[in-house]
């Protein structure tokens, strides 16, 4: 089991070394390297937000959401149409465009931050409302039916975004989305500001989720995940708690979508594929360790790190004359992401950072007392490497 402890720092170190050295060896310009790394870190932060949202749904509660991209996309579009100004030409048609009306505080440069508060809140609310509406028909179903239904919802929403002309400018998407605090510094340095904003968002969400998962609410969610029937027998309203978790997770994904829209400054239906918006996030959570918020963030770092590294490798393959590999790099890395899901689930189902055993503060105080011999050590940081991480709810029928 020594190799087991070794693998997490090894993966972390490998990605870090590669992501720093690859651009550094090709570019003589230090500023360019730093700019690349900042952009990379911003995307890691955005994906970490999405993975944290999925962790609430799947990691805490066991809700099998295969439609992450639906909430991601809705959040991004909501933030875009709230913060953008109205359309200026007849060739661009979309609803909303409130950006220039939302800076109503006449001082403190409110146009630099106020619309984005509204935009982010709006993204969370619209995403959460979508989850609320969807939870009514789908959350009572067996978990694999839920997965199929959420794939369908994501596909339907993507189709609506493309087909309904005048809703969000169809398949050309929205461009020129403003970014928060962008006029404070020169454009080349703006990345650092955005990096700070994104990291602050991740930390805020992380603190809230850590508090939530330690609270009685978080414990009910985990009880539902482990055994719905027992949780129901203990008097918990299963559907209600599942819905809350689904909505909270979706709101976090909506915030992730908003951050994505502000950073990329453009959203279009092409970006929100099932692979990019759903399965990549799942790969992050599975690799990092579902049920563990830090695992979700680590997973975002490692999977997106791998993704960026393979992107950088293209130039090397071109140098070495490996045209076949160079042209197919983007498909090869999809291959590796798929294979990673299978391999991790087969060999290390708990992920790199397995879920931490959490007990209430009361139990924690109790466990400070010397444990009787033979009893397993239980503490808030005791890793659960021996416990089977698979969710054993397979035989359940349609829950009602």
């Amino acid at each position: 089991m020594k190799a087991d402890k070794f693998i997490t720092p090894a993966a972390w170190a490998l990605v870090t070394v590669a992501i720093v050295t690859l651009p550094a060896t090709r570019s003589q310009d230090l500023g360019g390297v730093i700019s690349f790394l900042t952009g990379f870190a911003i995307l890691v932060a955005i994906f970490a937000i999405l993975a944290l949202g999925l962790n609430v749904q799947w990691g805490y509660t066991g809700i099998f959401n295969f439609g992450v991209v639906a909430f991601f996309m809705v959040g991004a579009y909501a933030a875009a149409i709230i913060t953008k100004g109205p359309a200026t030409t007849e060739y661009v048609r979309y609803v909303g465009g409130f950006g220039d009306k939302l800076d109503f505080i006449p001082f403190l440069d409110s146009e630099q931050w106020l619309p984005f508060l509204f935009g982010t809140a709006g993204a969370a609310i619209v995403s959460g409302a979508l989850a609320f509406v969807l939870s009514i028909p789908t959350l009572r179903l067996r978990e694999d039916y839920l997965a199929i239904a959420t794939i369908g919802i994501a596909e339907l929403l993507r189709r609506i975004a493309i087909e309904e002309k005048g809703l969000v400018n169809s398949d050309r998407g929205l461009i020129g989305i403003p970014s928060p605090l962008e006029d404070l510094v020169n454009p080349p340095e703006y990345k650092f500001i955005f990096f700070g904003v994104a990291v602050a968002l991740v930390i805020l969400i992380l603190i809230a989720l850590e508090a939530g998962s330690r609270s009685p609410w978080g414990r009910v969610l985990k009880a539902i995940r482990e055994d719905e029937t027992t949780a129901a027998a203990a008097g918990k309203d299963i559907f209600n708690f599942k819905m809350q978790s689904f909505v909270v997770g979706a709101m976090i994904m909506g915030v992730g979508g908003a951050a994505y829209a502000y950073y990329s400054r453009s959203v279009s239906p092409d970006a929100f594929t099932h692979f990019f918006g759903t399965f990549l996030i799942w790969a992050m959570l599975i690799v990092g360790g579902s049920g563990n918020n830090k695992g979700a963030i680590l997973g975002a770092y490692i999977v997106w790190g791998f993704y960026s590294i393979t992107g950088l490798m293209r130039a090397y393959f071109a140098d070495w004359g490996l045209e076949f590999l160079e042209l197919r790099m983007s498909f090869l890395r999809d291959f590796v992401v798929g294979a990673l899901i299978v391999i991790v689930l087969l060999l290390r189902p708990a992920g790199l950072l397995p879920e931490e055993r959490r007990v209430s503060l009361f139990m924690q105080r109790e466990s400070k007392q010397p444990t009787p011999p033979g009893e397993p050590e239980s503490g808030p940081t005791g890793s659960r490497a021996d416990a089977s991480p698979d969710r054993e709810k397979g035989s359940g029928g349609v829950a009602s």
């Binding site: 066991g62 099998f64 295969f66 028909p137 789908t138 179903l141 067996r142 978990e143 694999d144 039916y145 997965a147 199929i148 239904a149 794939i151 369908g152 919802i153 596909e155 339907l156 189709r159 493309i162 087909e163 099932h274 692979f275 399965f279 799942w282 599975i286 045209e323 076949f324 042209l327 197919r328 498909f331 090869l332 999809d334 291959f335 992401v337 798929g338 294979a339 990673l340 899901i341 299978v342 689930l345 087969l346 189902p349 089977s388 698979d390 969710r391 054993e392 709810k393 397979g394 035989s395 029928g397 349609v398």
Partner: protein, 375 residues
């Protein structure tokens, strides 16, 4: 109005208490009436779309029968089904042309099926020669081998560990991603055809226009469906499969070798996937993203017919196929005025979303499917 509606609700509740069976079946009956009415209306008003829907439905049916068998016997949603269909179609393409084609690079094996004498000579009015039939056979054998191998290497280990259905489903999703990226690596993102070119449609009575290939598709599906029927209902292994699907524990204690049943299920599922994939590529074209898009109609058909019921999947697939085609072409008008002009006919992009609407409807009203007995 309020007291009246309250009184009505009370009445409804009383009736529900007195006649529970009627009310439990009311939703199902409504669903049957809806689908039957839709199909009959489509048959009378849009005969051509109805027939095209049957062709598309029969392709879905082959995939959905395999899906429902895997779902029924191994109890998990096999998300790789659609992408495996596409992979099989590309394997047939490879066997036929011997080509691996990507951007800029092209690898050509020295030998392939279309270099057999007369292999590309068109069979009667069909667009392809006997080479494609041989290629389909090659793809079938390869897919069966692949499915059995995947079970040996991956799914069996999960079973031994006692993993939940969600882990199975997630692993199958990983395999789906791998299958799709293999297609993209080897054959690139551009659409391919077995036989390039446009082939004319033949006119039939009642305004039906069909290509010869579409009749070939329907005939193939009919033959395969009859073969599957005999396999499931007339052979020992078929009976063992149905018994395992109904009640795995009971099947095991009655001395049925469930490991063998599972291997057979993968083999049959793989064979059906291969045929369905090649037929889909004949009807549409070879496109990597089609594999995931076809997944929703497949699941809609399997769930509509009731998980574990091959006959149900067949009928479910027909309903999905016909509804899809008709909803894209239908124009509702009464007395010369369009009803819902903004909504119908649907834009072609919504094609696969129709299956999703059917799916949600069935999950809401009758999750066990039209023919499923148990929840």
């Amino acid at each position: 109005m309020v007291p009246e509606s309250a009184g009505f609700a009370e009445l409804l509740n009383k009736a529900r208490e007195r006649y529970p069976a009627v009310f439990d079946n009311l939703g199902t009956a409504a669903l049957w009436v809806l689908f039957a009415g839709l199909l009959i209306a489509a048959l009378i008003l849009y005969t051509n779309l109805f027939v095209v829907g049957i062709i598309f439905g029969s392709i879905i049916a082959l995939g959905a029968i395999g899906l429902t068998l895997i779902y029924g016997i191994m109890k998990f949603a096999h998300f790789a089904h659609g992408d495996m269909m596409m992979l099989a179609a590309y394997l047939a393409f490879f066997a036929l042309t011997g080509r691996i084609v990507g951007e800029k690079t092209e690898v050509d094996l020295g030998w392939s099926l279309d270099r057999l004498p007369g292999a590309t000579t068109q069979l009667g009015p069909l667009s392809f020669g006997y080479g494609l039939l041989l290629a389909m056979l090659v793809a079938l054998i390869a897919t069966v081998a692949l499915f059995v191998a995947l079970d040996n290497v991956i799914y069996r280990r999960l079973r031994q560990r006692g993993s939940g259905i969600v882990i199975f489903a997630m692993v199958s999703l990983g395999i789906a991603i791998v299958a799709r990226s293999v297609i993209l690596i080897l054959w690139g993102p551009e659409p391919r055809f077995y036989v390039p070119g446009i082939f004319p449609a033949h006119e039939f009575p009642f305004g039906i226009k069909l290509k010869a290939d579409q009749i070939f598709i329907f005939a193939t599906v009919a033959i395969v469906a009859i073969l599957v029927y005999f396999l499931l209902f007339r052979t020992r292994i078929g009976k063992a499969m149905r018994a395992t699907s109904d009640n795995p524990e009971l099947a095991r204690v009655s001395g049925i070798d469930t490991d063998q049943v599972i291997r057979w299920t993968w083999a049959i599922g793989g064979a059906l996937v291969a045929v369905a994939g090649v037929l889909l590529a004949i009807q549409a074209q070879l496109k990597p993203e089609l594999g995931f898009a076809i997944l929703l109609p497949l699941f809609a058909a399997a769930i509509l017919g009731g998980i574990g019921s091959p006959q149900g999947a067949l009928i479910g697939a027909m309903i999905v196929g016909i509804t899809q085609e008709v909803s894209l072409g239908i124009e509702l008008s009464i007395a010369g005025r369009d009803i819902l002009p903004q909504i119908l006919p649907l834009a072609p992009g919504y094609k696969f979303a129709v299956a999703f609407v059917i799916l949600i409807l069935i999950l809401l009203v009758r999750p066990q499917g039209l023919f499923g007995a148990k929840a």
